[in-house]
């Protein structure tokens, strides 16, 4: 039955319905849009990722180089306080002739912008957080703060003096505010130091000018803004002293070739680099550096020779296309429609170009221009010098494939299969051709040959200079890049086949089955086509005939996690780099570099294992058999087994537990001033002995049935291992905190007050050298005892003949806290308090190599065979940090062998990294406290 309603009722019903729909949609849009309540605090101190300020500085009226501040990431302090991570670099801080680097944690709470802490070599928490700006931002407003920065008492008083207009970078800025105030510091001496300061802040820019003046320090320091970069764009005055970027052609990672296959067949890597985050794209690099872009927007630059991180910074996630490298610039496209040009050596933004949409394909550089395809279906030419747009062209469909360079022109391929050859400087089109169907693979170019494959199942070869079709072969390439050189075109067919075409005629030369699915394109290395299957096997096929050699299996440190390969292979100078991914809780991507030349492969792979610890450990502990013994901060010592189960052997201790050393069926540990010998199985106390207050990084030496233990303030004691009865006491006092070092033959060496060699069985002195205090264990190798500490009241690294007690050499050295030197393979390696690694020839003390960590060491270096492992502490105050890092180097040359990022943070500013030849041990976090053991697989 049909019911006919009056028209007016229908109209009202429709009006109500439409009003409801519009209302709901409007409300829904309002709920869904991110809040954009930018106020004066955000405008006067912009904190968007990538924002950078470059200042020209003077100290006491003389130029003291550039100072650059940059928002390099987001941090999470403690459990809930998010903050911006702001890095400040000075070329020549206060004109002292040395560069400096500091990171500051700045966050907003209500109407205040607060400084939570700062880190240069160590972290200084600011307590309570110091307001550095607050609302309302207008003349007449004042605030003050008293608190501590680290151990320094401070007081700050600030006032907004006036509102003014300022000429900034050639533009008149209105509504700037001048702040004046003073900072009073009370250091260890108790004498106050007053610094008067003036700052001018302009909306949308931040600090444009500062002046600091201290009578006590006899210092007048001034900064003036000369360059400013935000995700919206960059401005710089002509006085910016950046070296001009090189205008060389872009480096295409995948087009390089080598004369030899090198050592691919050995499977031994040149180096490995394991990241805790997923790497989004294959690395790009030069002979000296490689750049890695990670999924969450972090970009890192690593020095290839030593594996040291030059910089790590974040852009709004995700990075959308592989970074491009040209000269000294790294081009990174972010998820907020911006393209950043970052200085390769410093990580500082040179310029940022805000685009109309996301970048859709990797940029290429030629003729002084960056050619970049954007998702608004345009291709734009940006000037390499400043990022300004020189030209723009529209395309019909998106350009997703990486453009290639051929004959000085940029060749772009649209998704639809249309290929364009453009002049990179003007955007003028030289030629245009269309494939028969959608583009599925390529373009790739070598010399004057351009290759692309379409979805109709054909692969085409064109003259790259004219666009003329040279050949077309009915072969259906799978979606991937193509590999081309002057001889062949290598492409992927179906899921598991590689085919080679004659580059001149397009004729198919051979096909080879890989024996497993492969998602990415092969690369050509010398006379070999190299392909990687998804299960991590590297296949090598001879260009002539396609004959396959035995595949090489690549591994990731977490052997228990399923491994996969989704990124294409990359060629970095003499290295072929594969990225294997693991579905692991504690690591994600491992980059494995294989040498394409002979004799270079001295790197190692690591095999990791996680030992879940019930509580935060004091240190990494000791592995004995299938058990890890670890002292924890809840006052207990735990035995953790390989299956993840654990037993609490002892509890109730207060304060530091400095060691847990297994000795036969016993476990030696220290609680308060007592040395305890516990039953390893039950935890029952077998005996205890008074030894004085505990000191971190000191531990007993076990010599047969004897325990040699430092007696704090007394010397050394030899105890019966079974009963704890003292057998002998050696009296020797000093300011150091050494541990007895076991020497071959059963003697021990000890260096508090003097360096002494004793017969461990009797305590008889063999020889002694007076006035030596070390602050950690000694090291022994090749008949020499090595220590770092005070010798004749001077801080030094020294070597002494273990047999004769004669000093061989000494070098001035400031050791890091609890970071003792390590020796082996004819080399001694030590890390100073600023994180500088020094490697010296063991026999002579002559310099071998050096490298610099980005922060303090997380523990002593550990020599394993011909390698040395060092760990840097990272920023443990920041839960988002990933600067906690372990690197292994060739001990003789410092060359990178492996790098590894443990998950989470190390627990203590004192570190805790350690280990032995069996395994490296790193305390960390992964869904709770863990100790990670790493074994070296050669």
């Amino acid at each position: 039955m049909r019911v006919s309603l009056p028209r007016w009722r229908v109209a009202v019903a429709w009006a109500l319905t439409l009003t409801t729909i519009l209302g709901v949609t409007g409300a829904a849009i309002r709920v869904s849009l991110p809040s954009e309540n930018e106020d004066d605090l955000d405008r006067l101190y912009p904190r968007a990722l990538g924002t950078a300020w470059t200042y020209a500085t003077t100290t006491n009226g003389k130029p003291s180089g550039l100072a650059v501040s940059q928002v390099i990431g987001n941090a999470l302090l403690g459990a809930r306080q998010s903050a911006s991570l702001i890095e400040t670099r000075h070329e020549d801080l206060f004109g002292r002739g040395a560069p400096s680097r500091r990171v500051s944690y700045v966050g907003r709470e209500g109407t205040q912008l607060l400084l939570y802490g700062q880190r240069d070599s160590e972290y200084r928490a600011v307590d309570p957080p110091q307001p550095i700006l607050q609302l309302p931002a207008r003349a007449g407003e004042r605030w003050s703060w008293r608190g501590k920065s680290g151990k320094t008492d401070m007081g700050v008083s600030v006032g907004a003096v006036r509102s003014l207009d300022v000429e900034v970078l050639g533009t008149r800025r209105t509504a700037c505010i001048e702040y004046r105030g003073d900072t009073v510091l009370i250091g260890g001496s108790g004498n106050p130091i007053t610094i008067l300061f003036t700052s001018v802040l302009c909306p949308g820019i931040g600090t444009v000018r500062t002046r600091e003046d201290s009578e006590e320090l006899k210092l007048v320091y001034e900064q003036e803004l000369i360059g400013h970069s935000t995700p919206a764009g960059s401005v710089a005055s002509g006085r910016v002293a950046f070296p001009p970027p090189s205008a060389s052609a872009a480096q295409r990672v995948l087009t390089g070739t080598r004369a030899a296959v090198g050592e691919l067949d050995t499977g031994r890597p040149l180096w490995t680099d394991t990241r805790r985050a997923r790497v989004a794209f294959p690395p790009v690099g030069t002979g000296d550096w490689y750049i890695v872009a990670e999924e969450d927007g972090y970009v890192t630059a690593t020095e290839r020779a030593t594996g040291m991180l030059a910089w790590r910074r974040q852009v709004p996630r995700p990075i959308v296309v592989p970074p491009a490298l040209t000269g000294n610039l790294v081009l990174v496209a972010d998820g907020a429609k911006a393209l950043h040009a970052i200085d390769l050596r410093t990580g500082i933004t040179r310029w940022t170009k805000r685009l109309a949409d996301i970048v859709s394909a990797p940029p290429v550089v030629a003729d002084g221009h960056v050619v970049v395809a954007v998702e608004d279906r345009t291709v734009r030419g940006l000037r390499l010098s400043d990022g300004e747009q020189a030209w723009s062209r529209e395309t019909v469909t998106l350009v997703r494939a990486a453009p290639v360079l051929a004959g000085g022109r940029t060749i772009l391929a649209e998704e639809s299969g249309r290929l364009h050859s453009l002049d990179p400087a003007t955007g003028a089109r030289a030629w245009e051709v269309a494939l028969d169907d959608r583009l599925v693979a390529g373009p790739a170019a070598a010399g004057d040959l351009l290759v692309a494959a379409d979805d109709e199942g054909r692969t085409h070869g064109f003259d790259a200079f004219t666009g003329e079709l040279r050949w077309s072969t009915p072969i259906r390439a799978s979606e991937a890049e193509l590999a081309v050189d002057g001889r062949i075109v290598a492409l992927r067919l179906g899921r598991d086949r590689i085919a080679a075409l004659d580059a001149r005629t397009g004729r198919q030369l051979w096909q080879s089955r890989l024996g497993g699915p492969s998602r990415r394109a092969p690369v050509i290395v010398g006379d070999t086509v190299v392909a990687l299957t998804d299960d991590g096997r590297l296949h090598r096929l001879a260009i002539a005939g396609g004959r396959a050699a035995e595949p090489v299996r690549l591994t990731s440190p977490d052997a228990s996690a399923p491994l996969t390969v989704s990124l294409p292979l990359a060629l970095l100078d003499d290295a072929l780099v594969a990225a294997v991914e693991a579905e692991s809780r504690w690591q994600k991507t491992t980059l494995i570099a294989l040498s394409t030349t002979s004799g270079g492969s001295r790197g190692v792979s690591l095999e990791g294992r996680v030992w879940p610890v019930p509580e935060r450990p004091w240190m990494a502990g000791t592995i004995a058999g299938e058990e890890l013994f670890v002292p924890a901060r809840d006052g207990a010592v735990y035995s953790v087994r390989s299956d993840g189960s654990s037993t609490r052997l002892m509890s109730g201790a207060t304060g530091t537990i400095p060691f847990a050393v297994p000795a036969g069926g016993l476990l030696l540990t220290q609680v308060g001033s007592e040395l305890l010998a516990l039953d390893r199985a039950t935890g029952a106390t077998r005996w205890k002995q008074l030894v004085g207050e505990p000191v971190l990084a000191t531990s007993p030496a076990v010599v047969g049935d004897l325990v040699v233990m430092p007696l704090r303030g007394t010397g050394l004691v030899g105890l019966d291992l079974a009963t704890g009865t003292p057998r002998w006491i050696h009296r020797q006092t000093g300011s150091g905190t050494s541990s007895p070092l076991l020497l071959p033959g059963g003697d021990v060496a000890y260096a508090v007050g003097a360096l002494v060699r004793l017969d461990a069985r009797t305590g008889t002195i063999r020889w002694t050298i007076s006035d030596i205090d070390v602050f950690g264990p000694l090291a022994f190798a090749d008949g020499l005892i090595v220590g770092a500490g005070f010798i004749d009241d001077a801080s030094a690294l020294f070597a002494v003949d273990a047999e004769t007690g004669k000093e061989r050499w000494r070098q001035p050295f400031e050791p890091g806290a609890l970071v003792s030197p390590a020796a082996g393979a004819g080399t001694v390696v030590a890390i100073d308090e600023r994180g500088a690694i020094r490697a010296l020839e063991l026999a002579t003390g002559r310099h071998r190599w050096s490298a610099t960590l980005r922060g303090p060491a997380a523990g002593p270096p550990v020599v394993v065979g011909d390698l040395v492992a060092v760990a840097e502490h990272g920023r443990s105050e920041d839960l988002f940090q990933r600067d906690y890092r372990i690197t292994l180097h060739d001990v003789a040359t410092g060359r990178l062998a492996a790098a590894f990022e443990p998950p989470g943070t190390s627990f203590s500013s004192l570190g805790g990294f350690g280990g032995s030849a069996d395994a490296l041990l790193a305390p960390s976090t992964s869904f709770g406290p863990i100790v990670l053991s790493l074994r070296i697989a050669r």
């Binding site: 049909r2 019911v3 006919s4 309603l5 229908v10 019903a13 429709w14 319905t17 729909i21 709901v24 949609t25 829904a28 849009i29 709920v31 869904s32 849009l33 991110p34 809040s35 998010s82 989004a280 794209f281 999924e295 995700p318 990075i319 959308v320 296309v321 998820g335 907020a336 429609k337 109309a356 949409d357 996301i358 859709s360 998702e375 608004d376 279906r377 469909t397 998106l398 997703r400 998704e415 639809s416 051709v433 028969d436 169907d437 959608r438 109709e456 199942g457 054909r458 003329e468 079709l469 050949w471 077309s472 009915p474 259906r476 979606e479 991937a480 998602r519 990415r520 989704s566 294409p568």
Partner: protein, 589 residues
């Protein structure tokens, strides 16, 4: 054909122009609209008004589709990270709420339609609702105390997810058995549960953003749509064929003003036109064509063989009784059968995968995970295509065999389409498919027409010449795959997707007569609701896909429709409803 089309003889000049224009309109749209326009006036208000709501969503999202890039001028939210060579995808943040509101309306319309359909149809729609919306039933939330959206949101979403199909089925059962008040109460509850499922996502999204975190909802919704992408393939196929029909109409209409030409002039102009066309196509890129023929002899042969094969079939089927009205009536069933058949393997695969994902999402089922991991997508689609099209071929042959006018034309159309698709599918499976360049087909066809004109120079009359001209024009319009619309759109600054939008509007205007039909399984009252609901849902997904730049499936499907369905349907129209006589017959004497 309309009788008014003939009433243009011996009229004054101005009125003659109007009359000619009217005939042209008749050829392009008028006739088709009368035959196939969607008509809602004959339906009761309870069907008509919800259908209008569906049309409203279609209208809004057609506009959005054409201007989809405007969405991206604002802020974007990441929905898919770069993975395995696939680029990252971003959705405009303002599109998310609009899409959720549209989904709520669209599902309400579909489920209301299901309640008025047969029980198996209602159950199938309920099942589809569960399969397609599984990811929305467990929205990921941050565990934040004291935030209702975070605490009760997932529970509300899950309750709404299960309650909705149950209410739809209850409504189906109650509609004829229980009082009207109960029916309306159930209908209101249905709308509320559908709204709850979608608006809970919004609430969670808003609260997550408000707390400074990245919302997982856009990525979740994108995942849902990725799974449902196959759904809009038939829509794009139908719109592609709509464009072909439109091009056919234009070709016929374009020759109408020339019907007054003398035979000699008409044939001369035609020959010159064809020669000019060949010169323009070949002469402007002689090297390119020479290179193509040299390097692609098998593709060249394929194009020639295609034209020759269809010409041979045309000669063969001349013996069959020709009924233009029957061809007109058969066009819609052949089109929709072809579109559904072409999309069917993909849709089945989509349903299997979505069901497996639903098992994983709802019950953490390892079986579901195994299915997702192990299903061989390529093999499934390839083998599925073979099976489906063999069945279509058999059905077509059977209809052809019945030899009734209507079924004969449907049968012939289906046989042609199925044979064409099978030849491509099997050839592609053998990995030796040489490809088919439509521009070359146009070239060969035009050359053949020119040969025909030269051979029949003296015997060709004006009507015949204009018919051949219309064929040549249609061949060009057709082989450019709707570029004539795209180019026109581009002049207005519109994207190539205008072709899809245009085809869809054309299908609604001229190809929706089946909505007024009736059957026990698919009752009349449910048809407009389900049809418009389906179109609206597909458009919402297509619009999302376009705005996120998450793979241009619309363009891919469009090209596929032109190749697989367009070529045989165009050939069928040429054979069974050629413009040779018709155009002339409709023009002034």
């Amino acid at each position: 054909m309309s009788a008014r089309a003939h009433a243009t003889v011996q009229l004054p000049a101005r009125r003659e122009v109007i009359a000619v224009l009217r005939v042209m309109y008749e050829n392009v749209l008028g006739h088709q609209m009368r035959e196939g326009r969607l008509r809602l006036s004959s339906f009761p208000a309870s069907v008509r008004h919800p259908s209008l709501l569906g049309l409203l969503v279609i209208g809004v999202f057609l506009v959005s589709l054409v201007f989809s890039d405007l969405w991206r001028a604002g802020d974007l939210a990441l929905v898919r990270a770069t993975s395995g060579g696939r680029p990252a995808a971003f959705v405009p943040v303002a599109l998310l709420p609009v899409t959720l509101v549209a989904l709520a309306i669209t599902w309400s319309v579909i489920l209301w339609g299901a309640a008025r359909a047969s029980l198996p149809m209602a159950a199938a729609v309920g099942f589809a609702f569960l399969a397609l919306n599984a990811p929305l039933s467990r929205p990921p939330v941050l565990a934040i105390e004291g935030v209702p959206a975070m605490q009760v949101g997932p529970t509300v979403a899950q309750a709404a997810y299960y309650a909705t199909p149950l209410l739809s089925l209850s409504l189906h059962l109650a509609r004829t058995r229980l009082p009207v008040a109960v029916t309306w109460a159930l209908a209101a509850a249905l709308v509320i549960t559908v709204a709850a499922l979608h608006f809970v996502q919004l609430a969670i999204h808003g609260e997550t953003l408000r707390r400074g975190f990245e919302s997982p909802i856009p990525a979740d919704l994108d995942g849902t749509f990725m799974g449902m992408r196959g759904l809009f393939a038939p829509l794009v196929f139908v719109s592609g064929i709509g464009v072909i029909e439109f091009a056919y109409g234009i070709s016929k209409a374009a020759v109408v003003p020339f019907t007054g030409l003398s035979e000699k002039v008409a044939v001369g102009v035609l020959a010159a036109g064809l020669a000019l066309k060949l010169v323009l196509i070949v002469g402007t890129d002689l090297d390119g064509w020479a290179g193509y023929v040299r390097e692609r002899p098998e593709a060249t042969l394929h194009a020639i063989a295609t034209v020759a094969a269809f010409a041979a079939i045309a000669l063969l089927v001349r013996r069959l009784r020709q009924d233009r009205e029957a061809v007109d009536r058969a066009l819609e069933p052949v089109t929709y059968t072809g579109a559904v058949a072409l999309a069917l393997p993909g849709i089945l695969l989509m349903l299997v995968l979505l069901l497996a994902l639903a098992l994983v999402a709802q019950f953490r089922s390892p079986i579901g995970a195994d299915i997702v991991r192990n299903v061989q997508v390529g093999a499934f689609i390839q083998n599925g295509n073979v099976v489906v099209w063999v069945l279509v071929l058999a059905a077509g042959a059977w209809l052809l065999h019945r030899a009734r006018a209507a079924s004969l034309e449907i049968g012939l159309g289906l046989v042609l389409v199925a044979a064409w698709v099978l030849h491509i599918v099997l050839w592609q499976a053998a990995e030796t498919y040489p490809g088919l360049r439509m521009e070359l087909v146009d070239l060969v066809f035009s050359a053949a027409l020119l040969g025909y004109v030269v051979l029949r120079w003296r015997r060709l009359d004006t009507r015949g010449a204009l018919g051949v001209g219309a064929m040549a024009l249609f061949a060009w319009l057709f082989t450019t795959e709707g570029d004539f619309i795209g180019v026109t759109g581009a002049l207005l600054g519109l994207d190539q997707v205008i072709v899809v939008a245009f085809g869809l509007v054309f299908a609604l205007l001229a190809g929706s007569s089946f909505v007024t039909g009736n059957s026990r399984f698919f009752p009349r009252e449910s048809r407009p609701l389900l049809w418009l609901g389906y179109l609206a849902l597909s458009l919402v997904i297509l619009n999302w896909s376009r705005a996120t730049h998450g793979g241009d499936s619309g363009a891919e499907a469009g090209s596929r429709a032109f190749l697989m369905l367009g070529v045989p349907l165009a050939a069928w129209l040429f054979m069974r409803n050629p413009p040779v006589l018709e155009a002339a017959a409709r023009g002034p004497a």
